[in-house]
Amino acid sequence: MTVSAWVFDMVLAAGLPVLAWSVLHTRDLFKAVALFIAYGLLIAIIWVRLHAPDVALAEAAIGAGLTGALLLDTLGRIGSRDTIESDASQSAAGERDQDKNA
């Protein structure tokens, strides 16, 4: 294994837990879904590095694509942005208004 392949794997291995943590930690549901999709695609690349292209295919299609689309649909139905009352989403809304008035 070459050095660049090793570094690539290390970056993947370091990025995954950070991303997983931020998916779980964030209180803005939409942000969590967007991060979850990114997380699924990162896992797909990790499967690729483990020489399992078929699993990577399934992870990308089901884990990131289908689940992501279903979660987005769910968010649309429950209206995440406006109904989740928490300090995190309040500040996110504030940011948004600021952006609109800028």
Binding site: D99, K100, N101, A102
Partner: protein
């Protein structure tokens, strides 16, 4: 290294630069419309150059055609996706940034 190797190396490097510029635009540009410009255009050129560089190295016509097909698919989806996002942003009254 033959001349083809050099050419494909150069194409891959320039392609990577375009991806970097796209990410930079995504982070630096002031509103979602401008960011869409950066992401779609720069990344598509980056992918096109990458595909070209790899096609030279692949040494097979079928693989080159398949790479081209993937690039075309990305072109169509990203142009459509950019339009959809911009359209939705306008519909949602996301304010446009103006130079003051």
């Amino acid at each position: 290294m033959t001349i083809w190797d050099w050419l494909s190396t150069a194409l891959l490097l320039i392609g990577a630069f375009f991806f970097f510029a796209g990410t930079l635009g995504l982070l630096r540009f002031p509103d979602v419309y401008n960011r869409l410009h950066a992401l779609t255009k720069a990344d598509n050129v980056g992918l096109g150059l990458t595909v070209l560089g790899l096609a030279i190295q692949s040494g097979s016509w079928v693989i080159a055609l398949k790479l081209l097909l993937i690039w075309l698919l990305v072109l169509v989806t990203s142009a459509t996706a950019a339009h959809l996002i911009a359209n939705a942003a306008l519909y949602d009254h996301v304010q446009r940034w103006r130079r003051s």
